[in-house]
Symmetry: C2
Amino acid sequence: MIVEARLMVSPRMLERLSAYRRLLAKWIAEKRERIYSHELGALAGATPAQVRRDVMTIGFTGSPARGYDATGLLQRIGELLDPQEPVRVALLGVGFLGRAVLDYFSGRSPNYAIVAAFDVSSEKVGRVIHGVRCYHIEELDEQAREQAIDLGVIAVPAPVAQSVAERACRAGLRGLLNFAPAKLHVPPEVHVENVDLAVSLEKVAFFARHGSRRREVQS
Amino acid sequence: MIVEARLMVSPRMLERLSAYRRLLAKWIAEKRERIYSHELGALAGATPAQVRRDVMTIGFTGSPARGYDATGLLQRIGELLDPQEPVRVALLGVGFLGRAVLDYFSGRSPNYAIVAAFDVSSEKVGRVIHGVRCYHIEELDEQAREQAIDLGVIAVPAPVAQSVAERACRAGLRGLLNFAPAKLHVPPEVHVENVDLAVSLEKVAFFARHGSRRREVQS
């Protein structure tokens, strides 16, 4: 009998699954075999009920008395989150941020590979930087096809971010991780994830000022 | 009569308020005077009901027929989010990522100032980089007191992130923006905001693979 199950994954749930996975991997390395929902929740910033809902949603089961099988749950999350083949990523913009991104991802994950970098500076185009060849941005279309590039990381200055995003969409990239402090307008089939450093800093400052993550603030 | 109102602000609500603020500023620049909850919601990724709840929570009112006064709402959000005085920030780690952070924040906001940078490399210590003086990390305690530093941005490699965070806590910093892919253990009064580039890339890849931000995924 074939059972077809369908599941809904929201961006927040995906963040939680990522967090569970890292915790599970750590605990398995420490030779733990079974994990409780309250343990996962406490360190992933979720309630035990939310953990149980998430785990049920991805089609895994445990028992209230014995918890979850850590290895089984880790594997199930991996099946869901990991691409079947390594995702091929283009770095768009090789300034300080672009180099930090290259540094960050080089060799960190078998699932993601930055296969090409793009810039407009003649000092960078044609060079190999942190092991990745840098092309002129005008070659994006050609290279995206030849190298079957899936995603782009936008690390260019804000004023040119939109035009670079449009170029990336024309070249067939299906997702963009955007570091530029600019709202990108792209076709609906292209997924954009914004990393806004200013908002992050605003959050730290607010909660540092008011003393904790969630508290009463005098109005 | 003095009315004391109290309000609860969660990290998610803070993100939404940040988003509303940017949209309001843009619309005011385009000479719009009144804004509806459904407009704010559509572009900030919230439902109209959530926008109305957030706005009510911060003690501002509009009318269903005429919407919100854009300038008044912008000002109210600013009163809540903006520090009374510029927040004084230390950059911890002056590699590519640290320089990108300096680039990113230099002159961008009157509310945040990176007043000092710290590293261990003799090539950096003593120099002025992007307008900011670089000190040895061992001087953090002294400089934090002298320069009244509030927050730290952790941009060091993962293996040393915890020891740098501990040093920052000892030096009296009350909040940390952490870019290192490492879970930091700090006293409860110190707020940590993690920016995890790997999780961000995982999200783009997942939604790019499955076609949209929230959809059915074959299990």
